[in-house]
């Protein structure tokens, strides 16, 4: 296990790219306050428009990509980003599952553009919002809406030190139980997506007695149909409520999409 600096004798060049997104995940990087200084000591932040207009030319050792692909222009641009990036890491639900904008995948996007824009004819947009991995090879996907900043630091840290990042793919339930959160579903009768959602957020919602919203997308072996069956039979959830719960930030993730479709449209 050798670190980047020992191997190459220099700091790695880091770039941050934005596609269709709300910028929240990039903000998580700026939000790293305590770690940010240490981070800038270890990496050269070469391209990060949200932080600085000054840019350094590629190629880059590591690229963080935020956002989904929703325009023909972006579908081309992501290929260029891939070309100049040795390692490409996608960050956030938009980049890993298409984001909330993937709701268009369930409808006709022109219905939206007509309502939103005065001149929809100027809008060049794709019919679907798709994750980066549908367009180029992705080295690592970091989940979350937004991502957890500690997980982001962990991923960069692991990259710097040549090790595997610790970002478990199990359910949110394990985090709840380890923290001592009381299960909101069993003890409160509240619908919760935790059992089918990947951990990483620190089980924030259940810690505040709310059901999980599924921000981190499906866990490694999700059984959404069993959970939704229980919601309907024992927690009184309607088809509409099931669909709404599944169609948020990770609406485009296959398991959530399919399960939603099984309950109507």
């Amino acid at each position: 296990m050798t670190g980047f600096k020992e191997t190459y004798g220099r700091k790695p060049k880091l770039a941050v790219w934005k596609f269709a997104s709300c910028d929240g995940c990039q903000l998580s990087l700026l939000d790293c306050e305590d770690e940010l200084l240490a981070l800038t000591g270890e990496v050269e932040i070469a391209y990060f428009l949200e932080a600085s207009r000054a840019t350094v030319k590629g190629p880059y050792d590591v690229s963080l990509v935020e956002g989904s692909v929703t325009t023909p222009h972006d579908a081309e641009r992501i290929k260029k980003v891939r070309k100049v990036s040795k390692t490409l890491i996608t960050i956030g639900a938009c980049a890993t599952a298409g984001g909330v904008q993937a709701l268009r995948n369930f409808a006709d996007v022109t219905d939206f553009t007509r309502v939103v824009y005065a001149h929809p004819e100027f809008i060049k947009t794709l019919a679907t919002s798709t994750p980066i991995s549908e367009h180029v090879f992705v080295d690592f996907e970091l989940r979350g809406c937004p991502i957890n900043k500690m997980q982001l630091v962990e991923v960069i840290n692991a990259f710097l030190n040549g090790r595997k990042p610790v970002t478990p793919s199990h359910s949110v339930c394990l985090e709840c139980k380890k923290q001592g959160n009381v299960c909101v579903m069993v003890a409160g009768g509240k619908p919760c997506l935790g059992p089918v959602t990947q951990a990483g957020c620190g089980a924030i919602c259940p810690a505040f007695a709310r059901g999980c919203f599924g921000c981190f997308g499906p866990m490694e072996l999700p059984n959404a149909s069993s959970l939704m069956g229980w919601w309907k039979k024992h927690l009184g959830a309607t088809d509409d409520e099931v669909i709404r719960a599944l169609r948020t930030f990770n609406a485009g993730a296959e398991v959530f999409r399919k399960e939603g479709e099984a309950h109507g449209n």
Binding site: E42, V153, S171, K177, G180, V182, A187, V196, N223
Partner: protein
Amino acid sequence: MQGYRLEPSGLEQVFEKLKSQSYEIIGPKLKDDAIVYDRLTRVKDLPIGLTDEQGPGYYRLKKRNDDAYFGYVLGPQSVKHYLHPPVFSLWQAKRTEDGFAIPKERESAPRYAFIGVRACELNAILIQDKVFLDSDYQDPVYLERRKNAFILAVNCTQAAPTCFCSSLGTGPKVEAGFDLLLTELINETEHYFVLETGSEKGQVFVKDVNLPAASEAELEAAQNRVKATEEQISKKLPTEGIKDLLYASYEHPHWDEIAERCLSCGNCTMVCPTCFCTTVDDVTSLTGDTAERVRRWDSCFTSDFSYIHGGSVRPSSKSRYRQWMTHKLASWQDQFGSLGCVGCGRCISWCPVGIDITAELEVFRQERGQSESN
């Protein structure tokens, strides 16, 4: 049987004495919608007048019509949270000029006094003792906490429909492994405890609290109370031939049926007082100058847990549930000489989709019985 009579007000004295012996008191406490184990500072922290209602995938708090201190059955947590902490930093290393160094000094282990431990939980501790201590390689984290622990157990005065300790001989009566034991008694006129001692530590402890001996009638009332609890228990897990049954059911189609319901969420293993599996994470500081090995609870329901070079050995819910149940009820016997289940029913209540280990076992048993009689 010998015992003392302790008034509710006398319990405060017990708390004070534990504190004066620098114990950290861990006991039942209301948190959100359940009774969990937490730090207690005084008797008032107990879930006085509260009880729980449980079923598969179901737990609700209810008010009692009395002021019982221990009138609930079981919460989601067991003392495992404290004796076998969910996350624990095993060691740290610092980079030095010519390599690395591992600072030796360790924080001394906490001294816990556990209040309200039930018979099934005590038996779970005895099982974990075997797992962690009964070999050439003892777990030092568990060992220190266990050695330090003071256990004030409580006899169950009511059972939940999820309880099946009586099938396994692990309750509801507390038999061994405690320092002090309380049985709570409430009738129209009185509210008191019968206190028994179960160890030298316990005997020394009561010596200078100066309690009156319990009368014959009081001792009998305590015994009757536990008997009544036992009669309430309706759930059963027949253990006869259980090992052969499960070993013979390895390819049974019912595992697929369970897998349709099982979420692989791992809740059952987290709440189980005997489940002990962990994994370790190696983490570094950004600069790479310090490294740390952190142990955390893991579960046979995660893919990482059975990941070996090339992939996960148990990629499906079917294989994970089968592994879990077969370990609990069959291979645990080969490994540790007992079942890995104490019949507390937590995995039934806290499974988000109400999968019931006793009901699933019954399917295997019934079908086996049928095929044998054919």
